[in-house]
């Protein structure tokens, strides 16, 4: 043992060579005789004669051979521990339990070791009595303060980390211990804090206890009492418990709201300690979010003609007159500088935003006096708060009330863009952006724009934080103007001929590009915002701004070139990260330009674009630059779409990147983008892609076979089969059996076993959608007389999927049902009368009828077409 003590001492000695040697020794010891090593570590941890930091080091080493962050190592560790002889594990367990309460440092490392061991053992339903031991440590009157505290820490960790039915079954002793430790009679703050922390983690486990009124009363009582503790961290944590309870157990809170929760949280909001005030505000933000969800649930239930499962008690509305004055007062407590720190003033702004959404018209009258009274206040804190309050209520109130409010405010608000204080201008320009989002018609009036545009241009040259918000305001303004113009009529591409910003379009583009070139554009995310605004501007540009859009392409390309030239001179990690962001943004800008580009203008510019993109992709290889790669691939997709088969001239150079993307399982976004590119290539090249297909197909199949790739990727590979089939036509027969096997397999796995599991429903929907896309493409590809025979053996399987979609009723989206209707039509067209008996079934006919009556155009069109195909085939006797 003494040797081990010396070694452990060295691990914390601070001398690097000693440390390395010591760690190497420990590694050896762990491999040579693992059971002995563990026992020794636990002995050191428990030995009170040993100096405290060595005991801590022993505990740390012990913990580190039991748990790991990484999943694979974690499961290796798990199996290694459980494979140890029972007596070895018993010794270690006894030692770590014995160590509790004997440590002189905080937090207890023994508690963490107990958590690590329990995390493994509970899975095997073992060592459950550790919880009883910990409980009696806490409830035994003769226990020391340290013993109680560290036992509670252990329980807290266990509640946080262990997800298993075993720990749920132990909720009662856990709660007994926690409640005991939280009592107001508990003399030690340390114990009370550890108990409150543990309570915060235990709340999810206590569903049953909350359903029992007596037990619920006790839990609520100790938590509410803890919010009044003298120690402020106890109060903060207790308030966090209340926040979480409101989410978990909203429907049980009625009896506590008026007498306890309301006064406690209102007092907390007024507290001068930021952490306490923040939790008070968070409580009400959380109430709003819950009630917004409940309102959505009620609406959905009403549409379906059923009673909602949970009902809102409208606490937010009731509390509004009491909490709003506190919140507006809190708004005035901004920092002098714009720090990233989360402070009550910011939390109050968010809370008001949520209150507005929740209480709608009710908030306007109550907050208006504060806004008008302080809009011209000499103190900038109040001016900023007034504008903040105004900007925060723009979503929620009804259109009519909002319109009246904004109509009065817009001109004075533009005036505040000259304010002496940056914070005021910053918030004012943000509020203007919000107006653009909510009142498009008001903000695009000529008399408004006449003042607004010059003011925005000026502000774009101000502090980065102000310019950042100007960029967003310009984005929103462009969207608003485009939307207003599009409502007046568009061409067949959906573009209006002109809009009210056409005359300043060029200038807006120039100003934004200048902004992205500002030397301080790295601060406050300004450069990103500048590019995003540029993209939004291009996306929402009418026909008469096309020349400027075209010219932007050249500018972007030039910037790309400059960037590639300076890349090698950058060394620091932050410079490189910035560069990656910039490359991503330029690729994204190319995407939006290409989306607008007229087909005939592309050949002139495609060479430099592709050269730039290839260079970027080249540089991504082997680096962690998934984001850039993804954006570059999406830009390539846009190029393929506008160039069509002409893109073929780049295929030799581009193919290696595409293949590499298809096997990039570590980065699902890149893999998805690559699958997307392949789909688009199929559409662009049609039959001409056949010679390349063996290789691509092999890569797609590898994705499906792979066990580590993120599960959301695979469905897209299945959908891609459909695009390939359409491109190849009869030639697809070559891949038919393999692809069908995968599709059928996936379709039969796409089952909803739990209608309450939203994740599952979403995934099943994704899977079914892509299976149907795959099937649909294949049916359409094999239309010829000779191919029909190939198709027939698979028809039954396809109809089975359609039937499942139909039977899922409203659990399937309308769009999925529409696609299923389309597939029926395709099958009926191909197969003819023989298929009728299996598609004219009750669920399928009902789905067709529902879709025919749908308000959704695609569903209506497809269902009607399919119904017609069915009756047409019937008549062909």
């Amino acid at each position: 043992m003494s040797e081990l003590v010396q070694i452990l001492e060295k691990t914390v000695s601070g001398v690097p060579t000693d440390q390395t040697a010591a760690l190497e020794f420990l590694k050896q010891a762990a491999t040579n005789n693992f059971p002995e090593f563990l026992k020794q570590l636990s002995v050191v941890l428990a030995s009170t004669e040993t100096v405290h930091y060595v005991r801590q080091a022993a505990g740390l080493q012990l913990k580190n051979v039991l748990v790991a962050k990484e999943e694979e190592t974690k499961s290796i560790f798990k199996e290694r521990w459980i494979a140890l002889p029972a007596d070895v594990r018993q010794v270690v367990k006894e030692n770590v339990i014995r160590a509790l309460g004997t440590e002189t440092t905080r937090p207890s490392i023994a508690a963490q070791c107990i958590n690590a061991i329990a995390g493994i053992e509970f899975v095997y339903e073992q060592w459950l009595n550790s919880i009883d031991i910990l409980m009696s440590n806490v409830t035994n009157p003769s226990s020391t303060e340290k013993l109680k505290e560290s036992s509670l820490e252990a329980l807290g960790y266990m509640c946080q980390d262990i997800i298993s039915p075993a720990i749920e079954a132990k909720a009662n002793p856990i709660l007994t211990a926690i409640v005991h430790g939280m009592r107001k009679e508990e003399p030690s703050d340390h114990v009370r804090l550890a108990a409150t922390n543990a309570m915060l983690n235990a709340l999810e486990l206590t569903k049953q206890n909350f359903e029992n009124p007596d037990e619920r009363n006790i839990i609520m009582q100790v938590i509410c009492e803890a919010t009044q503790a003298p120690h402020s961290q106890i109060r903060v944590t207790a308030l966090q418990c209340l926040v979480k309870i409101m989410s978990l157990y909203y429907n049980f809170m009625e009896q506590y709201m008026l007498r306890a929760l309301f006064p406690i949280t209102v007092e907390a909001m007024k507290n001068e300690t930021d952490e306490i005030a923040l939790q008070g505000i968070e409580f009400w933000s959380n109430v709003c979010e819950e009630e917004l969800n409940l309102a959505a649930e009620a609406e959905e239930a009403q549409e379906q003609g059923i009673a909602p499962q949970h009902v809102s008690r409208h606490y937010a509305k009731g509390a509004l007159p009491h909490i709003l004055p506190i919140l507006t007062q809190t708004l005035t407590k901004q920092d002098e500088d714009d720090e990233d720190e989360w402070i009550p003033a910011k939390a109050a702004a968010v809370c008001i935003t949520l209150l507005a959404q929740c209480t709608q018209d009710a908030i306007v009258e109550q907050i208006l006096p504060f806004i008008t009274q302080h809009f011209g206040n000499d103190n900038w804190h109040y001016r900023e708060a007034a504008i903040m309050a105004f900007g925060s209520i723009l979503e929620g109130p009804s259109a009519l009330i909002l319109h009246k409010l904004v109509e009065q405010a817009i001109m004075p608000l533009i005036g505040t863009l000259n304010d002496a204080h940056a914070a005021v201008r910053d918030t004012a320009v943000w509020a203007i952006g919000r107006i653009c989002d909510t009142c498009a018609d008001l903000v695009t009036r000529p008399e408004t724009l006449q003042s607004l545009i010059p003011a925005l241009f000026t502000a774009l040259h101000q502090e980065p934080r102000v310019a950042f918000n100007v960029c967003w305001a310009i984005s929103s303004l462009a969207k608003a103007a485009y939307q207003v113009a599009a409502e007046q009529g568009t061409d067949e591409n959906g573009e209006p001929a002109t809009y009210i910003l056409s005359s300043v379009f060029q200038q807006m583009v120039d100003e934004l590009i200048k902004t992205t070139d500002r030397t301080d554009a790295n601060t406050a995310n300004l450069r990103i915002a500048g590019y995003e605004a540029l993209m939004e501007l291009i996306k929402n540009s009418p026909q008469d701004c096309y020349a400027v859009v075209q010219q932007t392409t050249l500018i972007v390309l030039k910037k790309l070139e400059q960037l590639l030239n300076i890349e090698h001179s950058l060394v620091s990690a932050s410079d490189k990260a910035q560069l990656r962001d910039l490359q991503s943004l330029l690729c994204a800008t190319l995407q939006s330009v290409l989306r607008k580009m007229h087909r005939e203008d592309v050949p002139a510019i495609s060479d430099p674009i592709m050269a730039g993109l290839l260079q970027i992709m080249q540089r991504c290889v082997g680096k962690e630059s998934g984001g850039v790669m993804e954006d570059a691939l999406v830009a390539v997709t846009e190029l393929i779409t506008v160039m069509g088969v002409q893109f073929g001239k780049y295929m030799d150079q581009f193919k290696p990147f595409l293949l590499a993307g298809l096997i990039n399982y570590e980065d699902p976004q890149v893999c998805l983008a690559a699958i997307g590119v392949l789909s688009d290539l199929c559409r662009a090249f049609e039959g001409q892609i056949f010679p390349l297909m063996d290789e691509f197909m092999a890569h797609l199949l590898k994705i499906l076979e792979n066990t580590t790739v993120k599960r959301t990727v695979k469905p897209h590979a299945l959908g891609c089969f459909g695009d390939i089939a359409i491109a190849l036509g009869a030639n697809f027969a070559r891949y038919l059996n393999t692809t069908m096997d995968w599709l059928v397999n996936a379709a039969s796995a796409a089952q909803i076993s739990n209608p309450d599991d939203i994740d599952q429903i979403e995934y099943v929907e994704l899977l079914r959608e892509h299976c149907i896309a795959g099937f649909t493409g294949i049916v359409n590809a094999l239309r010829g007389q000779n191919e029909l025979a190939l198709l027939l053996p698979h028809v039954q399987n396809m109809v089975q999927l359609i039937d499942m979609v139909a039977r899922s009723g409203s659990l399937s989206s309308e769009s999925l049902q529409a696609s299923a209707c389309g597939l029926i039509g395709d099958l009926v067209t191909s197969v003819g009368q023989p298929i009728l008996p299996i598609v004219e079934t009750e669920p399928i006919l009902q789905m067709l009828q529902k879709c025919r009556r749908s308000k959704h155009n695609k569903a209506k069109t497809l269902a009607q077409w399919t119904t017609r195909e069915i009756s047409r085939v019937k008549k062909q006797v």
Binding site: E153, Y157, I218, V243, F468, A529, G627, R683, N780, R868
Partner: protein
């Protein structure tokens, strides 16, 4: 290992909501989504094109309903604004221009996302649509009826605007048309209006919708399935809504049609007509008589016993359940139907919660009837079954039990004891619902008195049961209840039956709210 970083993440989420700070991340995500969405769109356009090739080949077969199918994709639709449509219509339009304008208006109203309903209303086009119904041109009438359907199927305000513009009056005659798609479209609009409120329902009835329906009913066998379904749905909307309910005279006129519809061999038609019947029978005895005379009961019973699906069985059960709420004579209809013997027990044992609830409600109302009717329920072992069920049917069962002790004979009351009902009844003493508590206390009291009257042994046995299952604890707790009737009844039971037993032990275990220092029973 930090204790908990929930605080940080929570602030992180909130801070993204502060001003524009969450936007950069948000937009990157949205960009990717856009490219996926565009690809999906391309895929679907592509398929549409392929399918439309087939569509054109036999375009001579053009039924008005289906004309949407081709036109949305084939030619790019010439979208005109409501203003432009208005201008065309104001300037002495030719028939072709009218056809064009009304088709365009209908198209605008059929856009999926936010159709510009209010713009059309503001442009004064609702009145134009109403007038168009009387233009003697099939296309104009059809487009107008369709457009109006989309307006009146919107919000209640929008429905009202359509009605105020006088659309009901000219829509009704169109329902007599031999052109079935046109008649159906008109009916569809009418059904939407009737479904909005009791007042609008009466308004369409006053405008003669019933004869129009009779006319369609006379062609029932020749109507396509879709039209039959719309017809049934229209009937259901005409029977719906209370305050006021439709008059019994109206129901008398509707009942023969419903009797015919419920025998149609189509599930959806049956579902809607059965719902109609359930509304119709949700009223006084004279309503029940209307249904009885129409001869629908055998069909209803058949639907309950033979439908595997809840959608059909629920309205059918509800209809029969309504009979059970009527006079003893009406209740006897339920007993005579024979449904209590096999069908209801099977449902309670095997079916979904909503069906179980309906069944229990029906049974509890039968038990509220005569002693013979109570006996019929007891013979079918229904009380036992309900009490054995899960929490939800137990709640319903509490009403059945309460009805039994009020109306049953002493031996009938004692069946509750024989069926091991006391434990369940005691369990319900933990309920928060005052009515349930009252019912259960009265019932327990009644059972104990009934047993006392029959046999002392059984009474002792029952008392033991109550003690063992924790019922006595509940009774004692209820003595503290704020409701005077509850504490008095609880007190009464204890004084009458349990006052001799010493119960010190129990007291020790009781949980009083305030004291947190004890070892409590989590």
């Amino acid at each position: 290992m930090p204790m908990d970083n929930a605080v940080d993440t929570e602030h992180n989420d909130r801070s993204k909501m502060y001003k524009n700070s969450g936007k950069p991340d948000d937009l990157r995500r949205r960009r990717v989504e856009t490219s996926v969405e565009l690809r999906r769109q391309k895929r679907s356009d592509d398929l549409m094109k392929r399918r439309n090739i087939n569509l054109e080949q036999d375009s001579e077969e053009s039924d008005a309903q289906e004309s949407i199918g081709e036109s949305t994709k084939n030619k790019t639709p010439v979208r005109i604004t409501p203003e432009e449509a208005r201008n065309i219509l104001l300037n002495n339009p030719s028939l072709e221009q009218m056809q064009f304008a009304f088709e365009q208006i209908r198209r605008l109203l059929s856009i999926n996302n936010n159709p510009p309903v209010d713009d059309i209303i503001n442009a004064g086009l609702v009145e134009a649509l109403v007038k168009a119904l009387e233009v003697q041109d099939r296309k104009v009438q059809f487009e107008a009826a369709w457009g109006l359907t989309n307006i009146v199927s919107g919000t209640s305000d929008q429905t009202l605007i359509g009605v105020r513009a006088g659309c009901v009056k000219p829509l009704v005659p169109l329902m007599f048309s031999d052109d079935i798609p046109l008649a159906e479209q008109a009916m569809w609009a009418i059904a939407n209006i009737a479904g909005d409120s009791a007042q609008l329902r009466d308004h369409v009835i006053q405008n003669g919708v019933i004869p129009a329906l009779d006319c369609l009913m006379s062609k029932l066998e020749k109507l396509p399935k879709i039209t039959q379904r719309t017809l049934a749905w229209t009937y259901s909307n005409l029977c719906r809504h209370k305050n006021p309910s439709p008059s019994v005279e109206v129901l008398r006129l509707l009942a023969p049609g419903l009797a015919k519809l419920i025998s149609v061999d189509d599930e959806q038609v049956r579902i809607d007509s059965c719902w109609a019947l359930s509304y119709l029978t949700d009223g006084p005895d004279e309503n029940l008589e209307v249904a009885l005379k129409a001869g629908v009961i055998p069909y209803v019973v058949d639907l309950i016993s033979s439908s595997a699906k809840d959608q059909l069985a629920v309205p059918a059960l509800r209809t029969l359940g309504n009979f059970a709420t009527g006079s003893d004579l009406m209740t006897q209809v339920v007993v005579d139907s024979g449904i209590l013997r096999e069908v209801i027990p099977r449902i309670i044992k095997t079916r979904s919660n909503s069906l179980i609830k309906e069944s229990c409600w029906l049974v509890s109302n039968v038990i509220a009837g005569t002693q013979a009717q109570i006996q019929a329920s007891i013979d079918a072992k229904l009380v036992t079954l309900m009490l054995d069920g899960d929490a939800k049917s137990q709640f319903e069962a509490s009403w059945a039990v309460a009805n039994l002790v009020h109306g049953g004979t002493i031996p009938q009351v004692c069946t509750l004891y024989k069926a091991n009902g006391l434990a369940v009844m005691c369990d319900l003493l933990k309920s928060k619902n005052v009515e349930v508590l009252c019912n259960m206390l009265d019932s327990i009291k009644a059972v104990l008195f009934a047993l006392q009257a029959i046999s002392g042994d059984k009474l002792e046995n029952a008392k033991e049961q109550i003690e063992e299952c924790g019922g006595l604890d509940s009774l004692e707790a209820l003595q503290q209840h704020e409701n005077s009737r509850i504490y008095e009844t609880a007190l009464g039971i204890i004084e009458n039956f349990f006052s001799n037993d010493e119960t010190d032990e129990e007291k020790e275990n009781g949980i009083a709210g305030g004291d947190t220092n004890m070892q409590f029973n989590f």
